[in-house]
Amino acid sequence: MATFTLQVFRGDATGGGFKDYRVDAEDGMVVLDLVHRIQATQAPDLACRWNCKAGKCGSCSAEVNGKPQLMCMTRMNLFEPGSTISIAPLRTFPIIRDLVTDVSYNYEKAKSVPPLRLRPPDADGKYRMWQEDIDRIQEFHNCIECFLCQDVCHVIRDHDEKKKAFAGPRLFIKIAGLDMHPLDNRDRRAFVKDSAGIGLCNITKCCTEVCPEHIHITDNGIIPMKERMADEFFDPVVWLLRKFRGQKATRTA
């Protein structure tokens, strides 16, 4: 057993600061256990979201020692016994109270993504897909919507005004998953460029670094979407051909 000092952010939009709590940790405990211990013994009104406590629901996102992570998957044995650990709410989103933030930005953005549009089924009325068709997108489907990638993304973290124009890494892999879906026949390249603002991403890969599901957000999601967008909008050969034929770029249907 070891004792830690947890510096937990307490407060809301009107103000607040870090408050120290001394907490004991037993074998195998995670940061969330200590936060629960504070709730049960020292500060019953300490606000914190959580559900599954097994890294599956993505509710307990916070910034531990300045790094966005899931509190339920951050084991205490990563820290020096007796050390001081800061726990802050996700700093990219508006604060509700203590460790709870208003993550509706992500839900609003999700609504804007053009949904799956099914291609016609096979002749016998069935849809067939093979494992090789879906391996790539199944990776994106592992997303637990913890929004750590959204939180760490500097485009919106440090440039609040970009929230209007930028969907964020979570939504880029959502869009990629739909665009690469073998049953889907919708073109999302104009959407990803103009509405989702993928050009704002400068692929500095913090989203990938913090993803608790180890999804290769940048390499397998964002960059392939940038390449697909380049096919449509930044390929001079295609552009010349279009000029020559008098065609316009295809638009999202």
């Binding site: 020692n65 989103f93 973290r157 440039h159 050009g199 390499d219 380049a230």
Partner: protein
């Protein structure tokens, strides 16, 4: 149409107040070590390669040609990559400026627009961001949506150019087996320089063919892999390489610099090339 969904948290998008925490970051680890390392390494390479390109000398010692000066396509070169009846290109600029500058833009552009190097220099030089959850140095930000950075989207064309360079460097590496014979003519041989040039070209090829654009061109654009088995195989291969793209980016960078250095030192007579046979 999208319905009136999610009345939940007032549907606020980016207007309400953030947590009132003033610090630019709360990280306690040595997050600055990585960007500093990148600055030092990339800086050292840029300084060395510029210096080497300015030399316009000591880039060829038979049969080794420095990758900074390949392909040698001008008659004023110390060495001709394309001899054999092909016309000599005589550019007036040669002589004033090192031919290396005619060449280095190709691989340079490929590295400059490379998805991995972009990450590296946006972080280390631009400080946007210097490390994860560390505040951007500058307030304004437009990403790659405007000129000049919008040009990054043409990375694929830089890749096509880079592939051509791989062809030339492979040719150079083949020529590196062709030592001048004492009595005139050539004979097959193998020196440390040959090995150095082969390691260089293999690493450069690994870097070039692990490129994200290459991955897209080979199969990334396909939605239904089951209907495109060949492109699927190709894509899988490139995907596996792509996982190590950053590693290849650094190794090939060291390799190309060290290859030039080796040939330069041999040419200057400061070291002797060891012949195996």
């Amino acid at each position: 149409m999208i319905g009136r969904v999610l009345k939940d948290q007032s549907g606020r998008v980016g207007v309400a107040a953030r947590p009132p925490i003033a610090a630019a970051h709360l990280r306690q680890d040595t997050w600055w070590a990585l960007p500093v390392t990148v600055v030092v390494m990339l800086g050292a390479f840029i300084v060395y390669s510029t210096w080497a390109a300015l030399q316009n000398a000591h880039y060829f010692v038979p049969p080794y040609l420095s990758p900074f000066y390949s392909p040698c396509i001008s008659a004023t070169c110390l060495h001709l990559t394309l001899g054999w009846g092909l016309p000599d290109v005589r550019l007036p600029i040669i002589g004033i400026l090192s031919p290396a500058f005619l060449i280095l833009w190709g691989p340079g552009l490929f590295r400059l627009t490379c998805y991995y190097y972009r990450k590296a220099y946006y972080r280390s030089f631009w400080l946007a961001p210097a490390a994860c959850a560390v505040r951007d140095a500058k307030a304004g930000y437009t990403g790659e949506t405007r000129s000049p950075l919008i040009v990054q989207n043409l990375h694929r064309y830089a890749w096509y150019v880079a592939v051509i360079f791989i062809v030339f460097l492979t040719w150079d590496a083949l020529l590196a087996f062709r030592f001048p014979a004492p009595g005139g003519g050539h004979r097959f041989g193998l020196g440390i320089g040959t090995l150095v040039m082969w390691i260089n070209v293999v690493l450069l090829a690994a870097y070039t063919f692990s490129c994200h654009s290459c991955r897209h061109v080979c199969g990334g654009h396909v939605d239904s892999f089951s209907r495109a088995p060949v492109r699927y195989k190709l894509w899988r291969l490139v995907s596996r390489l792509n996982e190590h793209h950053p590693l290849f980016a650094w190794l090939s960078l060291f390799a190309v610099g060290l290859t030039d250095l080796y040939i330069r030192l041999v040419s200057m007579g400061l070291i002797r090339d060891l012949r195996m046979f």
